[in-house]
């Protein structure tokens, strides 16, 4: 019989990076295991769903849930972990905002399947394969969870206590959150934890643009030799830092790469992508109105750039899937 708090980790639609960030704790994991029992962690330890189902409600003290909700299984386990956990933490960008998988919401399932199973250069397209929820083979029935029409984030399907951003959350923040959680020092329910309130620019030490600076051409990071001391925007490279929550410790900036926005919207930002369009759009050189569109065209994939980690969390996503204004009105184009 132990009185140690019980922890659980789960991965839904994710790449595994959030799991790696937990293992990056290294020897500190040993400290954690002295203070707490890990009762479920499919990526690292041999537990089954049945073990969790056998637990009493609220038996787990804290569950760290990473990954987006992409299919039936993701949602089923989200509900299960909610039922069995006192505190459910959306851990990492996918669980927090939909993350990279959320970019799939720009497409419908059939066109995604066409790309993956038919037209991808590395695939033999002769079989017309599509994932089936049930397949009969000589040995019996094989079942797969059904894909959902859209990628959702954890709070779309269940009640979430805290949100911990990052792709992945940086290890020092993970450690700080573990310590706060294990000592019962978490803030009010619904808070974003392991991050700051202000934007990445608050902690970026690069030299900002002079008054009146304008962008005449956007460049992608590989197209320009980047000065490590200057604001990326002043070098014509899109940086999501202005609207993105700080707390990551700026590893990308330190590596001379612009912020991609993985910590999600900072306080005061309603919609990360639209806000970035508002801020960065206003920097475009407007001296020659004829050239505006040419400059805009140098932004490759605006939705994928400004909503890289938060498309599933965006107002546009809500308009498309909740209000159903997507497919019915295609004829407007």
């Amino acid at each position: 019989m132990t009185s140690k708090p019980k922890l659980a980790f789960y991965w839904a639609a994710s790449c595994g990076g959030c799991e790696i960030t937990v293992t990056e704790l290294g020897m500190r994991l040993v400290d954690i295991s002295e203070k707490a029992d890990i009762v479920f962690w499919p990526a690292a330890m041999d537990f089954k769903y049945e073990d969790v189902r056998a637990m009493a409600d609220n038996e787990i003290d804290i569950t760290f849930f990473n990954g987006a909700i992409r299919n039936e299984e993701n949602e089923e386990i989200a509900h299960l972990m909610r039922q069995k956990s006192k505190i459910l933490i959306a851990f990492g960008s996918c669980s927090h905002l939909g993350g990279i998988p959320g970019l799939a919401n720009m497409y419908d399932i059939e066109s995604l399947c066409q790309r993956v199973f038919d037209t991808s250069p590395s695939v033999d397209d002769t079989r017309g394969t599509r994932p089936q929820t049930c397949t009969i083979v000589p040995e019996g029935e094989i079942k797969l969870p059904a894909l959902y029409e859209q990628v959702q984030y954890l709070a779309d399907v269940t009640d979430v206590d805290y949100f911990m951003p990052g792709c992945p959350p940086v290890v020092d923040q993970v450690w700080a959150v573990f310590q706060a959680a294990l000592s019962g020092n978490l803030p009010t329910k619904g808070s974003v934890i392991g991050a700051s309130a202000k934007s990445v620019c608050d902690v970026c030490t690069r030299k900002k643009g002079e008054p009146g600076f304008r962008i005449t051409e956007f460049k992608r990071p590989h197209e320009v030799e980047l000065d490590p001391d200057l604001c990326f925007l002043t070098q014509g490279v899109i940086c999501c830092g202005p609207a993105t929550r700080a707390g990551c410790g700026t590893p990308c900036l330190n590596g001379n790469m612009p912020c991609r926005g993985c910590y999600g919207p900072a306080e005061g930002v309603e919609d990360q992508g639209a806000k970035l369009a508002s801020a960065i759009g206003a920097l475009i050189d407007t001296d020659d109105p004829e050239k505006l569109n040419q400059i805009l065209e140098t932004i490759v994939d605006p939705a994928g750039t400004f909503y890289r980690f938060g498309l599933a969390h965006s107002i546009m996503n809500k308009m498309k899937y909740e209000r159903g204004t997507g497919h019915e009105t295609e004829d407007l184009h």
Binding site: C231, G273, A274, L296, T329, H333
Partner: protein, 319 residues
């Protein structure tokens, strides 16, 4: 006033400030006044011709307290009309610079920065057509931190910085985010309700303004902004999300923007939003930006009716 040795008269002083040189070319024809939107829309006492004359006559105090000195937004509609090709706004700017040096302050309400929210990104400083905001450093809890500060004598109140500020840290009474979203209609009925964000300068004739107000409020909800540079794509999306069926943003024709670049800034922002809506396979015609020229009276009616028709048709198609 010892910036130039040997300055004698007030006119000489103005001419010594960069931009003020062309003062003496003015022969007071008044073409500038006939072109000026401020004189026509806001302040009958606004009069560039008279201000330049005051300077030439050495009427320093009258010039420093004249509304002309403070309200000119450098739209330069007068510049293209001036037979003497005087860059009048720059002469006025020179007078304003001397006025500020002499301790006079702008009567306009400038934007202010909430340092609790400001991250010091510098976007406001970069986007401002008047270079009113700038960054400064100060120590907070032993750490050197950057914040924006605004020169209230340079700020013309267009709101371009308010829309660009990522964190809502910069605002002015009447144009804050909360004040704009509070104007969204509360319970849009199942009708083609639309919001028109209109720049206070683009509809230059009283009949156009009256036309805009003639629609039933629950059908066409008008939200006035100082300049379309103030438009925030977030607000357009939030409006649609609240149940509004269409958003029309109405600004000035390029080259006629009262705040120099606001209409072009709006064009960039709505252009980006449009592309993103397309990427999400959402109907792009729900959000439209129109630039109405000084000579295009009545066009606002065509634009509104056109959008109402499109919205009605698409709603009927869905039903």
């Amino acid at each position: 006033m010892s910036h130039t040795a040997g300055v004698q008269t007030f006119a000489d002083e103005v001419k010594a400030v960069p931009g003020g040189e062309h003062l003496e070319l003015c022969y007071s024809c008044g073409t500038c006044v006939s072109k000026c939107m401020i004189q026509q829309k806001v302040e009958p006492d606004y009069n560039p011709r008279r201000l330049l004359r005051m300077v030439m006559e050495g009427m320093e105090e009258a010039a420093f307290t004249s509304p002309t000195t403070w309200l000119c937004s450098e739209c330069d509609l007068c510049f293209s009309a001036c037979p003497q090709e005087i860059h009048i706004s720059q002469v006025i700017k020179a007078v304003k610079e001397l006025a500020v040096r002499a301790g006079y302050t702008s009567p306009l309400t400038a934007v202010t920065v909430n340092e609790d929210l400001c991250s010091g990104c510098g976007i406001c400083a970069m986007v401002c057509p008047y270079e009113a905001p700038s960054l400064y450093e100060k120590e907070v809890d032993g750490v050197l931190d950057r914040f924006s500060k605004v020169d209230p004598n340079k700020c013309m109140g267009c709101g371009t910085c308010v829309a660009a500020c990522p964190l809502g840290a910069i605002a002015r009474v009447g144009v804050s985010n909360a004040e704009i979203t509070a104007q969204f209609p509360e319970t849009p009925k199942d009708a083609p309700t639309m919001i028109v964000f209109t720049c206070d300068w683009s509809l230059r004739e009283a009949e156009d303004v009256a036309l805009l107000e003639s629609y039933p409020e629950d059908e066409v909800n008008v939200i006035h902004i100082p300049c379309t540079g103030r438009i925030d794509p977030q607000h357009a999306l939030m409006a649609l999300d609240s149940g509004v069926k269409g958003v029309l943003v109405c600004g000035c024709k390029p080259g006629e923007c009262h705040y120099k670049r606001g209409t072009d800034v709006a064009s960039c922002k709505i252009g980006l939003l449009d592309t993103m809506l397309g990427q999400m396979n959402l109907p792009q015609k729900q959000i439209r930006f129109v630039q109405i020229g000084t000579q295009e009276r009545g066009r606002i009616r065509e634009e509104i009716d056109g959008m109402l028709n499109t919205l009605t048709q698409s709603m009927e198609a869905m039903a």
